[in-house]
């Protein structure tokens, strides 16, 4: 080894390096071909990562660009010209009870002058959402109120349940039981939302109506309660992580001073984990705003502007799901729906990024090496 001090040094350096940063292409014995393969693989992996990262920009730019009228986005228009009947095809299934309406819209679109109609973002400001009225109204207010109402109810029901369950798991449950609860909640998170919506329709709806005696079988309150089922696992998982993240010596110190478990929880654990819990609630809010299938099935789907808890409601997400199947590409309604999708995108992203930042802070403040 004394003959090759430089190689020896390099290897020693490689070992002491905490994370290998670059392929060790400089090692003398490597053949040129092999190092080329190494570089090619790294390049491929890097390209994949950048592609994954760029997808969000792709999604955003395409959703936004579809709000523009056809003249401004030439490529899709070409496709339409090449296939004349293509433009008149509606997406999703016409058979969904909306066939007649789609047909009427189609006739209207044929008679309409495509140059004269344009969507503008200003159309979104208004208290009425009614795309079939003449002229159509695309006011987002009733949909935003509907989304906020249902997400609010979902959090009011789901957040206390999720946080309480997390406290029970961390503070009171015997170890074995705690280890069982977590995977069960993870399984609950895996229940498809369309199944939750279906059960909400056939079981929860009649049950709640009998219990509370309200007028409409399908309404915002019912949808909110069902969406809570989807929100609870997110709040629980994040809150449980945050509670476990509080350093054990703080907990033991509090208990050693004679505080009871609940005193320790209320005065020490909860304040210390507050940021993580808030993060969980925000992530839950993001989920509730974007949730589609549950509200589509049981919110009553009436875009009326009402603050009543038990009134039928319509969310932004459900509007997209209901109306996208009935519009024609290029008509004003189509662009308005993409504008609505942009708004929903921004809302959900804001809550998720907010939750992510809170979570990052909560984790950053954690004392190292004390997890579990």
């Amino acid at each position: 080894m004394a003959d090759h001090p430089s190689t020896h040094d390099t290897v020693a350096k490689e070992i002491s390096r905490p994370v290998p940063a670059a392929p060790c292409a400089h090692l003398a014995w490597r053949s040129g071909l092999r190092s080329a393969v190494e570089r090619l693989v790294e390049l491929g992996l890097r390209a994949s990562a950048w592609l994954s990262g760029a997808l969000i920009l792709l999604v955003f730019s395409f959703v936004v660009s579809e709000t523009l009228t056809a003249e401004e986005s030439p490529a899709p228009l070409q496709a339409d010209l090449a296939a004349p009947d293509h433009q008149l095809q509606s997406y999703g299934a016409d058979a969904l009870g909306a066939g007649a309406r789609a047909l009427a819209t189609r006739e209207a679109a044929r008679s309409r002058d495509p140059q004269g109609e344009a969507f503008s973002w200003g159309d979104l400001a208004g208290p009425i959402w009614d795309p079939v009225r003449q002229p159509p109204h695309f006011g987002l207010l009733p949909l935003i109120v509907g989304s906020a109402k249902i997400a609010g109810i979902a959090l009011a029901v789901g957040a206390p349940l999720g946080i309480s369950a997390a406290i029970f798991t961390v503070v009171f449950a015997p170890r074995r039981m705690g280890e069982l609860i977590k995977p069960l909640v993870e399984l609950l998170a895996g229940v498809p939302t369309v199944v939750v919506g279906f059960l909400g329709l056939v079981v929860l709806a009649p049950f709640l109506q009998n219990l509370l005696g309200y007028q409409f079988r399908l309404n915002g309150f019912l949808a909110g309660v069902a969406v809570a089922v989807a929100v609870i696992p997110i709040v629980y998982t994040t809150a449980e992580d945050a509670l476990w993240g509080v350093p054990g010596h703080l907990r033991e110190g509090s208990l050693a001073l004679g505080a009871s478990r609940w005193q320790t929880t209320r005065r020490m654990l909860l304040p210390a984990a507050a940021q993580g819990i808030v993060a969980g609630v925000m992530l839950g809010l993001g989920k509730a705003i974007g949730e589609t299938m549950i509200v589509l099935i049981i919110s009553g789907n009436a875009p009326v502007l009402s603050l009543g808890l038990f009134a039928p409601a319509r969310t932004m997400s459900a509007t997209l799901a209901t109306e996208m199947g009935t519009v024609l590409r290029g008509e004003v309604h189509y662009h308005a729906l993409y504008a609505l999708a942009t708004v929903l995108f921004v809302f959900a992203l804001a809550f998720n990024i907010g939750g992510g930042i809170a979570l990052g802070r909560a984790r950053g403040g954690k004392v190292q090496g004390e997890h579990r």
Binding site: A82, F168, F172
Partner: protein, 301 residues
């Protein structure tokens, strides 16, 4: 928390315990309700027959096949891309922690996009833009039409939705491979690629499998992204090409629950379909949870 439970702790313990019981029992309630409503319908025939009499009788076979094909197409796109991304982020960016932070941020944001927005994106990008231009290039008259909702575009849209799941899960499994093992491999003179292939990859394989299972489970349960990108109300035939539309269990359930011509007559089919979907996603999820637990237990310390 090791300490005795004071009597004054009992109210809090009971209250939070009840909340926990309520949360966990939801799973059981869902299962029991679906079994109760669908028991009479669940049979071998239900699994292997197509819907009959305007979807008021028969089985869900085309929907099962459609679901399987959908998650297959989705996995073929999401798992390789997600795994490659995770490998790059964990193995090649050691000197650039800021870049990793940025990637994590973007991937978290991607995970936060509502499923229905993905659906609209899939319609705009895959169906209209990619598909429409493919049709123009290939000439409209001959060959399959790409500019309409189909299996391929639905699978691609679903892949976007499940990509963050794959990335996060694979990264977690890479984190579980101790740094010392890599260093030992380097010390023996192995190259970066050889280390990754012969040392890191075998240990990370269960994690990659977990990621795939989680992605499939998530994809099988989502309906919103495929409503406009490929799922069909009723197609009796099994899809034979990527340009075919397909039936899917979740979408089938949605259609049956909200647009059925005879809600009373199809109640059994609805419950049984929901039960099938739940068992499918639940079984996948459970195996992912168990696999993950084994991976975690195997972690060297």
């Amino acid at each position: 928390m090791r300490s005795r439970v004071f009597p004054r702790d009992w109210p809090a313990a009971i209250l939070t315990g009840v909340a926990t019981a309520a949360t966990v029992s939801m799973l059981l309630v869902v299962l029991v309700l679906l079994l109760k409503g669908g028991w009479g319908t669940l049979s071998l025939e239900f699994l292997i027959a197509a819907p009959k009499n305007g979807m008021t009788a028969g089985g869900v076979f085309p929907a099962i096949v459609g679901t399987v094909l959908l998650v297959l197409v989705m996995s073929l796109a999401a798992v390789p891309l997600g795994t490659a991304t995770a490998f790059y982020l964990h193995e090649y960016t050691g000197a650039r922690p800021r870049r990793v932070e940025m990637f994590r941020f973007v991937i978290r944001a991607l995970a936060g996009i509502p499923a229905i927005v993905f659906g609209l994106f899939g319609l705009a990008f895959f169906v209209n833009f990619l598909g429409g231009n493919l049709d123009v290039l290939g000439g409209v008259e001959q060959g399959p039409r790409w500019g309409q909702p189909n299996l391929l575009w639905a699978g691609m849209t679903m892949a976007l939705l499940t990509l963050p799941v794959v990335i996060v899960t694979v990264e977690e499994s890479l984190r579980a491979v101790p740094q010392e093992v890599r260093e030992a491999s380097f010390a023996l003179g192995a190259s970066k690629l050889a280390t990754l292939r012969s040392v890191v990859l075998p240990q990370a394989l269960p994690g990659i499998l977990t990621a795939a299972i989680l992605a499939v489970s998530r994809g099988a349960g989502e309906v919103a992204p495929i409503m406009f990108t490929g799922a069909a109300y009723y197609v009796p035939e099994i899809p034979g090409a990527l340009t075919d539309q397909f039936m899917e269990l979740g979408y089938h359930l949605y259609v049956m629950a909200t647009q059925s011509t005879d809600v009373q007559a199809t109640a059994g089919i609805q419950h049984a379909t929901a039960f099938l979907l739940l068992v499918l996603t639940g079984a996948l999820n459970l195996s992912a949870v168990l696999l993950r637990a084994r991976v975690r237990a195997r972690r060297w310390s």
